[in-house]
């Protein structure tokens, strides 16, 4: 009896996700941002998935791929459930059966082979460093801040600037830091969301062992996705995890960084789901923006805990959206335009890509700009 109680192997799908704890209040679906453009009703999935025999059928529904992993359903659930994980569990069934979309399959395979979902060779992971003076961490040497660069930032030419500018800021501030180098591997955030359970478990195990070897006081992440994933899904990680905005804010308070130029612009900050809602980091990025002379910081009506998802997460980078309805990123850009914002500032590589895409689609390129915070800060350095 003891053995049975200890084992998690024998838990059913419903037990593992505590589906019997659900009271069908509807807060999950009520809060779900994508309901305005897709048929996804996550509450129905929680209800139906209690029946083990229906899982197979449920996994065939296209909506399970509409979830962006913003976690609003989990944050709002009054009973502590994580409704979105029902969808991930159903995705697992699809992934295990081998019937995934080719884009998803390729991204997962790329994580397995090259440590990134972008089908790029591991050897080129740190090509972005070229021409920069970057300190690389040595596992044998103690270091204050160990930097973890997200796969997207490392490979995507649009957002490599985040890492580049951060290096410049760190060098100028005289911070004790080290980057990991080409042995760095994907944190697994999107692997988890795409339902590749086995690969995610392996990723967590390997990364934990690898990162624990470094004698660093803290791990600093560039992407909120890595940040939240390390914080919440790596139980055995031996160091505290920060988002870079927290570290820069700290440096700012200590007077170790300052900006040489003004930026007389109206800026609105878009809270990334993985930084705000899921990790409650709201004030640090705002303080960084406010520290710039000339900035007039605006606020979305839907900000902080009520921020609207940009639809970049949950593996959506590799899943085509069927809906013809207005994208949430476009809603967001329109709201920003309406309030007269000249810059939409973000602190997440996915948000940069989705929001900028929406801005271009709406034809606002001339009068508006989407920028990662480090992009702005880097431009203000001497």
């Amino acid at each position: 009896m003891w053995g049975m109680m200890m084992s998690t192997e024998n838990q059913t799908f419903a037990e593992k996700l505590d589906l019997f704890g659900c009271i069908q209040c509807g807060r999950c679906t009520g809060g779900c941002p994508v309901t305005v453009r897709t048929n996804l009703n996550v509450r129905r999935f929680v209800y139906d998935a209690k029946n083990e025999e229906m899982l197979e059928e449920l996994s065939k529904l296209a909506e399970i791929w509409d979830c962006t992993a913003c976690h609003t359903c989990a944050v709002r659930c009054p009973k502590g459930l994580k409704p979105l994980e029902v969808l991930f569990g159903l995705r697992t069934l699809v992934v295990e059966s081998g019937k995934t979309q080719p884009t998803v399959r390729d991204a997962l395979e790329s994580v397995f082979r090259e440590g990134n979902p972008w089908e790029k060779p591991r050897a080129t992971r740190y090509d972005w460093m070229e021409g920069l003076e970057v300190k690389i961490a040595d596992p044998e040497q103690p270091v204050e801040n160990l930097f973890f660069v997200c796969c997207t930032i490392a490979y995507d030419p649009r957002v490599q600037i985040v890492a580049k500018n951060l290096v410049k800021i760190l060098n100028q501030a005289g911070v004790d830091y080290g980057f990991i180098g080409e042995n760095e591997s994907c944190c697994g955030s999107e692997v988890f969301a795409l339902g590749e359970e086995g690969l995610f478990e392996m990723t967590v195990e390997d990364n934990t062992e690898f990162l624990n070897e470094f004698q660093a006081r803290q791990l600093v992440t560039l992407s909120p996705h890595c940040f939240t994933t390390f914080r919440t899904r790596y139980p055995d990680l031996n160091k505290p995890v920060l988002h870079y905005t927290q570290l820069l804010d700290q440096l700012l308070q200590e007077g170790k960084i300052s900006w040489n130029q003004d930026l007389p612009k109206k800026i609105v900050f878009h809270d990334p789901c993985y930084l705000g809602k899921q990790s409650l980091v709201f004030d640090e990025p705002r303080r960084l923006l406010k520290s710039i002379q000339g900035v007039e910081l605006l606020e979305f009506d839907r900000s902080r805990e009520r921020s609207l998802c940009c639809e970049g997460g949950g593996g959506k980078m590799w899943v085509e959206s069927e809906s013809k309805a207005q994208r949430l990123a476009e809603t967001r850009i329109k709201d920003a335009k309406e309030m007269g914002a000249e810059i939409v500032a973000v602190a997440c590589p996915f948000c940069v890509l989705t929001l900028e895409d929406a801005m271009k689609a709406l034809g606002y390129e001339e009068e508006m700009r989407v920028a990662e915070i480090t992009e702005l800060l880097g431009e203000l350095l001497a």
Binding site: N41, T72, R304, R306
Partner: protein, 666 residues
Amino acid sequence: MTEKPKLGVYICHCGINIASTVDVEAVTEFAKGLPNVIVARNYAYMCSDPGQLLIKNDIKEEGVNRVVVASCSPRMHEPTFRKALQEAGLNPFFLEMANIREHCSWVHGDREEATAKARRLVAAAVAKVRQLEPLEEREVDAEPAALVIGGGIAGIQAALDIADAGFKVYLVEKTPSVGGRMAQLDKTFPTLDCSACILTPKMVDTASHPNIQLMTYSEVEEVSGYIGNFDVKVRKKARYVDFDKCTGCGECAAACRMANRIPNEFDAGMGKRSAIYLPFPQAVPAKYTIDPENCLYLTRGKCGKGPKCAEVCRAGAINFEQQDEIVEFKVGAIVVATGFDVFEARKKPEYGYADYPNVITGLEMERLVSASGPTGGQIKIKVEDEEIVPKEIAFIQCVGSRDKSVGNEYCSRVCCMYTAKQAHLVKDKIPDANVRVYYMDVRAFGKGFEEFYDRVRREGIHYIRGNPSEIFKRGSKLVIKVEDTLTATPMEDEVDLVVLAVGLEPRQDVRKIIDLLRLSQSPDLFFLEAHPKLRPVDTATDGVFLAGCCQGPKDIPDTVAQAKGAASSAMIPLARGKVKIGAQVATVNENTCRGCGFCVEICPYSAIELVAVNRFGHPVQVARVNEALCKGCGSCSAGCLSDSIQPKSFRDRQILPQIAALGVMR
């Protein structure tokens, strides 16, 4: 004590609670073989009359002089069996219980192992009972007076009942008036009678009752002593108004330079008051108070050319020199009726309470519909600086209740009905309003509640099953993001006004009362009663009783019922005029005590003090126990460096053989 121990051992089946898991026959046979046991029996229900008769008969006829009952936890039936021993002429403390239910049959599945454990527990009890000594319970006089803390409906009712029975009552209220939350309410569900109309007569009674000493704007500072003999210290805060001179005319408030500038607590912050104020028109006592945090003269030392209030007061009642006053008195019992705070809606930022003025709480709605409220009972809101009558109105239930995400797992029990009532009142005042209630379950459990819920729905209030997730703004409208779960339709509902049915929480300063009276909290953080079913108004501190929402969310009928219960329990020691003191208290061997005072420090009940004694001509200090205060917890004994202080019935020579018999020590 020279009498040879003759033991009777009684194994209870507790129906099948014990007998289905423990082989009671085998345990009985085993007990028969234990030292000094002359009789061992088992029976279906030892606590029943025939069960007790078995014990009594054996005492009388077989000469049994020590009793072991192997049954349930002593918390429940130790008093039952002690009484049985006493009735048979035996000292009631010659009893030891072996708990083979909670500690054995209920927590084990394997019959053989459970039976083996039951044997050991019985053997341990036998080993101890042989060493027990006869004890006597003593009695001390009880002060025929009570303290009631909190002047809401619970405290008012408890105070009136105790006072009507002829005992002196000290009613202490923190704010300047009695009345509490009930005074803030407009109508009461489900009967819709006016809250103030039924409450104010009782408020007035508390001030005029010859047996009640009403102390408003006062706080209990210190309580020491024990049931029957509590010493109480109360701080009467300076009102800066001479209580006897003030006529309550109100000219001071009208003249105050801060008039209409300070958020009025009574109106849940919606209306404004002066720095000198009467919390609400029907306040009892009808005496003005100066709020020291907002009075210009008290905060800055200057109020124009001179304080306006003093200038206009014809009674000459303003007195800025007034000081707090400490009042001390003695009572035999205490009723705690400190009430509740409403859930802080800001803790659910997704509802935008902090961002949107037209998202209000249920308590604010009470003031908005009340004739004595800030709008004189008219439901008006501001939209873009324009005052309008809202036409699209939504109520959201369970805000801060049944919600792990804010740490409140409990149901607040009143929100379903107060929402139904408010929805009815809104519809009554704005007949063409479109009123909907977003709910997840409607709990209409009380007398007349379901009937009221039926009535309200038929009046055209739409009940939509879905708990909203978010509120944001679109133009001049508030948008509620919600799913109608019955049709599985996600919606964005545009409304003018949102009322959050905020739940009930313990008072924010609950810690003060806990420290004052050594109370405990249940997992919901409300005060913990002594037993959830059978001692619902008692606490772990003898002589301290609970009434109203400080013990858990309650509606008015339940609060009044509990207040009457607490009053009646509090009156037991007052009416008897005497209280029993526990016999199983700590005792000091003054010959070996070194007077180090370690036990004095350790004792959580302040029951031990050091006294000077003469030891062979030498003055030395030794510990002495105030038996009325001692709870027999044994902390002193565990800490004593010379084994000089030990609780009776739990002396080393009594518990060490017991532990040894369990066979778990080497």
